[in-house]
């Protein structure tokens, strides 16, 4: 089996009664890739993850991991690892026993387990936590333990079901970087479910943008952001300005950071407008500028010079190649 088809999903479908939640989804991922399933709630991303895990049986379609068809295998026969939104550590077991649980199930001896648990604790940066109980730890620490528990038995695939959603904003960012670093170090193929586009953009090799049970676009974060394939992908990922139809034609849009207040070598188009609002967000200055009948949002980096004021007339510069044509 070639590495390009390490995770092979074909025509995957799931319906509950007459309600189709996943409508014939197919994708292929390589060994070691970090993949995000991104979409609003109810788009089917979690259902796909749960079908890969074996908690839901597909109505149709197949799932293969490393050449093996696992579509109808029981979850405990799939040799996968999973991290849940609610941590789901076993409250009655110590951190060490939690991490060692999968190893114990697999029949590893006490010494082997100890060594692996120690290795895992070092990996997640909690080396002295073996004897602690989950309730004695912060949410971020618990989720790191849950990650260690999932990868300790060396699963073929790591499934992450919104693992950061229950955490505070600050921990969320640091933990996602940590997850990515560990994933790279181990080279473990990972499927990450999230509704947070910033999260998906920042840690994925490739992203599957989903809506209403279908794939809207599959590509690298850079591709998805800069070359959205569908209107949904364009509007769901990142902010977007709809440009005045009079001068650009219908359904033309542009990212806020691609409009400048000054001329750039690549800009070829100008617009005049009136500043209607200014939002200072630290590193970024977010202006609202009324141009003709539309209000454009413009992001510029903070500079140590006086920003425009409300009511100022400004000239906006943009490059026509940055203009996105929104399709269906």
């Amino acid at each position: 089996m070639s590495d390009q088809h390490f995770l092979h999903v074909e025509s995957l479908t799931k319906h509950y009664g007459t309600n189709a939640v996943v409508k014939g989804v197919s994708f292929d991922f390589s060994k070691g890739e970090f993949i995000s399933l991104l979409g609003p709630s109810g788009c089917g991303k979690t259902t796909i993850l749960r079908m890969i895990a074996g908690f839901e049986i597909p109505s149709a379609g197949t799932i293969q991991v490393d050449g093996e068809d696992i579509t109808v295998l029981r979850p405990n026969q799939r040799r996968l690892g999973m991290v849940f939104q609610a941590y789901a550590l076993f409250p009655n077991l110590t951190v060490g026993d939690n991490i060692g649980f999968g190893l114990k199930v697999a029949g590893l001896g006490r010494e082997e387990r100890r060594a692996r648990v120690e290795e895992m604790l070092k990996l997640i940066g909690l080396p002295d936590f073996e004897k602690r109980f989950p309730y004695e730890m912060s949410g971020g620490q618990q989720q790191r333990v849950a990650l260690a528990r999932a990868i300790a038995p060396r699963p073929r695939l790591l499934l992450l079901d919104e693992p950061l959603s229950a955490l505070d904003a600050k921990i969320r960012v640091s933990l996602r970087e940590e997850i990515r670093a560990i994933q790279r170090e181990l080279g473990i193929t990972t499927v990450f479910v999230t509704h947070d586009q910033e999260e998906a953009l920042s840690i994925s090799d490739r992203i599957v943008v989903m809506n209403a049970g279908n794939i809207e676009q599959l590509g690298t974060p850079h591709d998805i952001y800069n070359r959205p394939a569908t209107r949904f992908a364009a509007t769901f990922v990142g902010h977007l300005n709809t440009l005045p139809a009079a001068s650009f034609g219908p359904d033309r849009a542009i990212r806020p950071e691609l409009i400048s207040l000054t001329q750039r070598p690549d800009t070829d188009t100008t617009l005049s407008g009136i500043v209607s609002d200014i939002g200072f967000m630290g590193s970024v200055l977010r202006l609202k500028v009324d141009v003709a009948d539309v209000r454009l949002s413009i992001d510029t980096f903070n500079a140590n010079s006086t920003p425009p004021q409300r009511g100022d007339a400004v000239t906006l510069h943009l490059a026509s190649r940055d203009v996105l044509a929104l399709g269906a």
Binding site: A53, F55, P75, N76, M82, A86, L89, P91, G102, S138
Partner: protein, 263 residues
């Protein structure tokens, strides 16, 4: 005492007296075996009665079996209903309440008719068979309490996610129940166990009609034939039951702590 608290206190005192006066009177009477002054003679008499020891030990043993069978029946049943058949919960609630509605005497007559020595399954034909029947009867009697205790315990933990977390790591159902679910609801299960024990120790109807040498019939027998010992026995039974209840209270402090943290 503030005047506006007068009525609450009065009601409380009357209520307390309703329970305590007979208890104190019984205790006082149990100390009067020796004429003229208080003594624990009746208690000594009770404890030295070989029938007391034998019946108490018998009932305790039957109680232990009833607890084990109750756990083996109730824990998986509650687990699977909560996990896979949640729509059956109202039915479970109803069925587990039936033992409180149907009198024990109806239950035991049913047993005797179904399992008498000339039936296809003659449980009552041997002492062991009758003991098994007695245990089944007690499991049924304790079912409302055992079910509610276990159900409450399982409500406190996220059994669905814990089950999935264990499954994905390769665990089968038996291992999930024994090493994840049961330890996490242990406190609830134990409180169900102590309730079962308290019920079994004093139970009369089923044991008597099945003609087993249990503590309940012994209490009745002593009560019918002796003067001071019954009071002593009543006090002892109270202490045993209270002990069981006290253990439940004590155990509640060790319930699993799993509040989700976001930090």
């Amino acid at each position: 005492m503030k005047p506006r608290k007068f009525w609450p206190w009065l009601v409380f005192t009357l209520g307390a007296a309703y329970f305590l006066v007979p208890l104190i009177a019984t205790f006082e009477f149990s100390l009067k075996m020796r004429r003229g002054y208080y003594s624990f003679d009746s208690y000594a008499s009770v404890f030295s009665d070989p029938a007391f020891q034998a019946t108490f030990a018998y009932s305790a043993l039957i109680g232990v079996f009833a607890i084990v069978v109750g756990i083996v029946v109730v824990v998986p049943a509650v687990y699977f209903v909560r996990l896979r058949l949640p729509h059956l919960r109202p039915l479970m609630e109803f069925i587990t309440l039936l033992p409180l509605i149907i009198p024990a005497i109806v239950l035991v007559y049913g047993y005797i008719r179904l399992y008498n020595s000339s039936s296809i399954v003659p449980f009552t034909g041997s002492a062991l068979g009758t003991d098994i029947l007695l245990i089944c009867g007690y499991v049924t009697l304790a079912m409302p309490y055992m079910y509610r205790a276990v159900d409450t315990g399982m409500r406190a933990i996220d059994i669905k996610t814990l089950t999935e977390a264990a499954q994905i790591m390769g665990a089968d159902t038996l291992r999930i129940i024994t090493s994840i679910i049961l330890p996490n609801i242990l406190v609830a299960v134990l409180s169900g166990a102590f309730l079962t024990f308290a019920i079994v120790i004093g139970e009369f109807t089923i044991a008597s009609l099945l003609n087993r040498p249990a503590f309940g019939p012994y209490l009745q027998n002593v009560g019918a034939n002796r003067a001071y010992e019954p009071s002593a026995l009543a006090i002892i039974s109270f202490i045993v039951t209270w002990g069981a209840m006290g253990m439940i209270q004590l155990l509640a402090r060790f319930a699993p702590r799993s509040a989700p943290r976001t930090d």
